[in-house]
């Protein structure tokens, strides 16, 4: 099927098989390999991109379903002059990654999270990123990075408040 979409501001038209997942279209037809595949069950979130401004796991939809959409991948987040997006800068400053395989999806999910909730608590960041797995960092610095980005100063040391230590078992 002939489809057309805007990816990182550029128009891309292609003839794809109807069963092609969006993530495979992005990686293979368009050649943007920053979006990673970390599972085959929509569990890990490594393939998260923005579709019309909203975070979506790009393995959960078909390329044909994104026909006409505007898509942003990790490659499209920084400014044209290379200046990092504040979320990328926060991951940089807060050591928010190790192997980096989850990072593109994590950064895309986190930017979307802040769009919905510009000043999240630590608890809200943890809950907001529950659909994105990371096996290296233990998440601690990722949460710090998102809080730092939300504060407007990616280099700031976020004050981590213990999460509901006194709440008596409420999760």
């Amino acid at each position: 099927m002939q489809i057309s979409m805007t990816i990182n501001g550029a128009e891309h038209s292609a003839d794809v098989e109807p069963r092609t997942l969006l993530v495979h279209h992005i990686r293979e037809s368009v050649g943007l390999t920053g979006t990673n595949v970390g599972c085959d069950t929509s569990s890990c979130g490594a393939c998260t991109v923005h579709i019309d401004g909203e975070a979506v796991k790009s393995c959960t939809i078909l390329a044909v379903q994104a026909d006409g959409a505007s898509i942003t991948t990790i490659e499209g987040l920084a400014a044209a002059d290379g200046t990092l997006h504040p979320m990328q800068e926060a991951f940089r400053q807060q050591h928010g990654l190790q192997c980096g395989y989850c990072t593109p999806g994590m950064v895309m999910a986190a930017t979307s999270l802040l769009t919905e909730n510009p000043s999240p608590t630590e608890r809200e960041v943890r809950e907001g990123l529950e659909g994105n797995l990371c096996r290296c960092t233990g998440y601690h610095n990722i949460v710090k990075a998102v809080l730092a980005a939300a504060s407007g100063d990616p280099a700031s040391e976020p004050a981590l408040t213990p999460v509901d230590v006194t709440a008596g078992g409420q999760r």
Binding site: F91, C99, G100, Y101, P104, V107, L133, C134, G138
Partner: protein
Amino acid sequence: MRVAGRSEVRLDIVDKVTGAARYASDAVVPGMAHAALVRSTVGHGVLRGVDTAVALAAPGVHCVVTMADFPDVDPFYGEWVRDQPFLARDRVRFIGEPVAGVVADTEEHAHAAAALVVPDIEPLPVLGSAVESLAAADLVIHPDRASEDPELPNVCYRSSFEYGDVDAALAEATYVHDATYTFPAVYHYAMEPHAVLATWSSDGLDVISGTQQPFKVRADLARIFNVPLGQVRVRAPYVGGAYGSKGQSKYEPVTAAMARAAGRPVRLVISIGDAFHTVSRHHATIRMRTGIGPDGGIVGRDTVITYDTGAYADKGPRVARKGAYRAAGPYRIPNIRSVGLSVYSNRVPAGAFRGFSTPQVVWAGESAIDEIARHLGVDPLGYRRQHLKRRGEPFLGDDSPLDADLAEGLGVTAEALGWGSSVPTGRGRGLAVGVKDGGGGAARSEAEVRLHPDGSVEVLAATSELGQGAKTVMGQIAAEVLGCQLADVQVRLSDTAVTPFDRGTNASRSTIGVGAAVERAAEGVRRQVCQAAEEVLGISEGLILDGSDIVVGEHRQPLMELVCASRKLPPEEIGAYSATGFSGNPTGSGPLGAAAAFYEVGYSAAEVEVDPETGQVRISRFVSAADVGFAINPAACEGQDEGATVMGIGHTLLEELEFVDGELVNGTLVDYRVPRTTDLPDDFRSILIQNRDGPGPFGSKGAGEGGLLAVAPAIANAIADATGVRIRELPLTPERVWRAIQPVEPQES
């Protein structure tokens, strides 16, 4: 120090936050074809043949290969025991074992054709676990291999250590604690599945693989295909996590074989589902008997560990040996006997996994010590501190003396948790310490450092960048020694044709091994620069490099000018300063064949709350401490420690590979639950202990595994403190905890 000891921003960070980082699964070369593997759906059987005709005629297919296509190769690999062929030859031994490979023009075509390959397998009875294998005398998984023990034909490897007279000590003990603990098989879940790209040309074999051990893979490939080492090139780009799952050969031999048969470059990228069927951590059953004397001292410990190695040895024998050794634990115990068994079964092979045999034995040992302290009615912290080995004491046999203050480190950890203060109602506290001999045995590491006349530096070091931050740390070491800025240093990724030899990125050995080699190479380069400065300027004391300039005291000039003057050549002819360095583990025998380079120590302390209605365990507070000697990059060390802790929380509360008759039944991320953001402890602290007492650069020790070792017993000890109930089986799922804390065990109907 200027560069070392600072939390420098990672050198790979911009690549990784912008999507520019390339992993093996992103690698592409012209003319490349794609591969898919056909895997056994039978757990144990005789492979009578493989019908490839229909698949061969499918669209886009270049070739379909089975082991019959490779009569000239030695297809076996494995550490210590080489028993695993890259495609099944005459038998299949686990569900998921590759039996054929398909090469096609696209991945879709390769997978479609793979579904058309029909293996002809005559089923044999399945040995679904090590327990079944040990009980079976007439069903042998590897009949062509002589067992370690004629009575137990499915034992892959047996290792034992004995010091003193354990039987006499336990007979005379006033109390013998006797308990059996189990540790689940768990999966690494490196987020990037295994990926390999192999190309044959007149230059030989070129392989791009996300491997931890490029030189080990090179050696395997050279042997298997009978090619000289110098004609095999293995490159490891950024690796999307490994944790032990990408050591030795995995899919490199089969991909190289397919590329040879297809006559073109071939890339294989497996799915996570297939990665679940590649390698795991050993399930272990640990029976531990510990004798206590009249004064409360530990007089003897007798341990038998049964590791379920699955269908092929992989690194299982080494796991069994190290586990038996480490089961003795870090306490003063005069009489020790440990036996480690690596046992075949028809499960997915088990091999290396962060901590390498140790989390299993620390789970038993640190649970047992806690049980003993509670039996004696003494504080578990105080009891440990009293009986832990002291710095400088022999660890075991003639191994290196202990290089850490365990009692002090455990005290620091306990204090950070508030040990001794009142515990909130409904909660309990527990702690544990884990120790493993670090460095992975005798091995040589080499590195090269080049200083170009414009002041830029290249470090050639074969440490795979798995996420641990090796690229950055190697750069910091070089910059510190050379006296230059980190920004001027480029650290190249592993490439056996370019980076000098190293055994592999495992056993927390890179900083003390490759790092030391980088340090010496950088010292060699610095000597050359200083010598030139002495010749030309008559001074070199305190020389540093600042971008393209050298600075000596008040004097500043371009490095280029100095080199030209010293070598009496024009700028375009002067070359670079370069030097190689190497390091080797300390000499000395030691019970494991080489003395431990250092001891990796991890401390964990937990405060938990158990929901009596559901059995859900909530970690309200967690403190982890790592004795790293000296943190060359503190943020990287903390990140490793935090990541290890959360991985440990996985096998403690959530993770278990479940097998039914040898078949893995939860091999997807839907059914197999790894920790998520919401599983973090409510309050989580990581502490670095730095006494500059390690063998690595600036007094550093290896790190990255320690944080995992003691998590499970710390949490189980906290649960016991909260509920009075001791659970000896992991993971501590809500159901298991709920059943354990019921006043009366519910009747099975």
